[in-house]
Symmetry: C2
Subunit: 371 residues, 2 copies
Amino acid sequence: MSRTLNSTPAADGFWMPAEFEPHAGCWMLWPERPDNWREGAWPAQQAFVQVARAIARFEPVTVGASPAHFGAARSLLPEEIRVVELSHDDCWMRDVGPTFVVDARGAVRGVDWQFNAWGGLQGGLYFPWDQDDLVARKVLEIEGRDRYRAPIVNEGGAIHVDGEGTALVTEECLLNANRNPSLDRAQIEAHLRDYLGVSTIIWLGRGVFNDETDGHIDNLACFVRPGEVCLTWTDDRRDPQYAISMDAWERLHDARDARGRRLKVHKLPAPGPLFMTAAEARGIVPREGSKPRRAGERLAASYVNFYTANGGIVMPLLDARTDRAAAARLRRLFPGRRVVGVPAREILLGGGNIHCMTQQVPVAGLRRKRP
Amino acid sequence: MSRTLNSTPAADGFWMPAEFEPHAGCWMLWPERPDNWREGAWPAQQAFVQVARAIARFEPVTVGASPAHFGAARSLLPEEIRVVELSHDDCWMRDVGPTFVVDARGAVRGVDWQFNAWGGLQGGLYFPWDQDDLVARKVLEIEGRDRYRAPIVNEGGAIHVDGEGTALVTEECLLNANRNPSLDRAQIEAHLRDYLGVSTIIWLGRGVFNDETDGHIDNLACFVRPGEVCLTWTDDRRDPQYAISMDAWERLHDARDARGRRLKVHKLPAPGPLFMTAAEARGIVPREGSKPRRAGERLAASYVNFYTANGGIVMPLLDARTDRAAAARLRRLFPGRRVVGVPAREILLGGGNIHCMTQQVPVAGLRRKRP
């Protein structure tokens, strides 16, 4: 049973736990649309299968597929991965799925943000997005968790939390006029406090250069544990990413989290820069109403876009020149976890990466300390 | 996780429990197609909501709806009923859903019969039926139960069991050339033994007069407990149903169940006879490839088509002249259960009734005696 509640998580004593806390499992969606995924989405599907397999080594995985693709998804995914029918407009479960919240007694509920395809009719990536906007509700029905329907447009990839009262967001996304034009910073903050159960919001400026989500935090920086943040980085001052990362570093350096701590910032050198090739662009079928993808475009590549599983880190492999160093860095950042790399260029070509395509479900029944 | 197993339930020590054993819940589907459900399926949807509500008084109910109808189904059904996306060609969960089987240690698995819309291209009710044939698999994915894909065409409404080794079926359906034309009676029996875990199969002849399923047992007769069967009945010798029920009565009278018992047969007087009115037929939108429904057609009305829930019986109300007597009869047959009647003519107009639209999930973790 999934009731829709009229209160807010904060009012009910709920908050969003950090991704590095224990999971019951992980949800994903199946890539299908030929205007975003080259060559009929076949190469992306192969990559998604590898990501799902990698996560399934650590925790149960469910993949949602549309009615037309259910059979193929079921055949291509191994049996230990659950496949359910779940229509969507594109496959970014992080952004269209629920954001789960917990309370001190171990109850689990879900926040269903309003979704407008990263900008609606002002720069959104496609039209329509009605099936995307139903995904969170459908996941909550299957999970049997009560639902908060948030009164703002937001995406799971636009927020990170430390589980101890702090949220990390970007101005580029959360204050973008194509999300909640009638709300100012203070009003957005109030909603984040209400729906994430946080007390402190750390604002970074812009997200990764040319990130079509309008600068989602989950491609730029994330908590690796309370008090420590990992930030995508480049030392190349001519790269437009340099100023973005430097500004983020400075803001993080000056920030205090909900417990009053200074943050330790770990730089994670970016791959590339990487660009879409002509061969890659050729396989994409343009469609009126969808953002075109063109050869030569800078890809918003970042190793920060990894998924933290139970006992594991599933990270994108993006560039043979930098993959090994990034994996080594993540191994040092997460000493208790096994770091697994999955070739992810095909996912990057579609506009996101491993974190964008996943959504964790926290373990229920766990007694937690209220932040 | 739902693995597909290459063995059979019988070989693995599994069998189908009786419907009157404890349930974990009940699955249904949402009526949608305008060539079967009059007036855009609206009246049928109202009736389905009432059935779902009635069952939900006794056990958890899940309703599957297609992507196009998910939102409406979710709005029309009360929140305590789970709604999931589940495409289908029509809404008869009994026939397209899995038949659940259990073992002595309380494990639960599902049998996924091959489905051909009650006769395929030789008298089936519509074409295509590919989404129907995926329903059982999708239910088993959500339930997380392993799956046997049976090598024969069959429907859940074509079988009843006593949970102690006996199955009840009709020749009209199971031996119909439009189901498994290459298999004879002995081969069908072997498959039923393998997939239902039964040792004794009691064959009745024809099902209810003009039943478009080719005489499903679940409209004609069912076990009310081991050793006792309830049979739809008419005393009117001019009614073609008379000979059918009399033949069934004689076969039941002569039969022995798996434990060697004679059966006690309870007659449940039929409503009607009932016929489709011109007003009712007018609201159906004919479609090439689907069985036409015409004014004046005899409806296959039977009170035997009830659902046995945990502590309850949800029965169809079909005829003001006979409803009360039927309810009283069922109350006497099920002294431990509360009998709830739901107006069901709209369901009958679509070709089935409450038992046809439901599928029970047995409780897991229950130690049971192997039949």
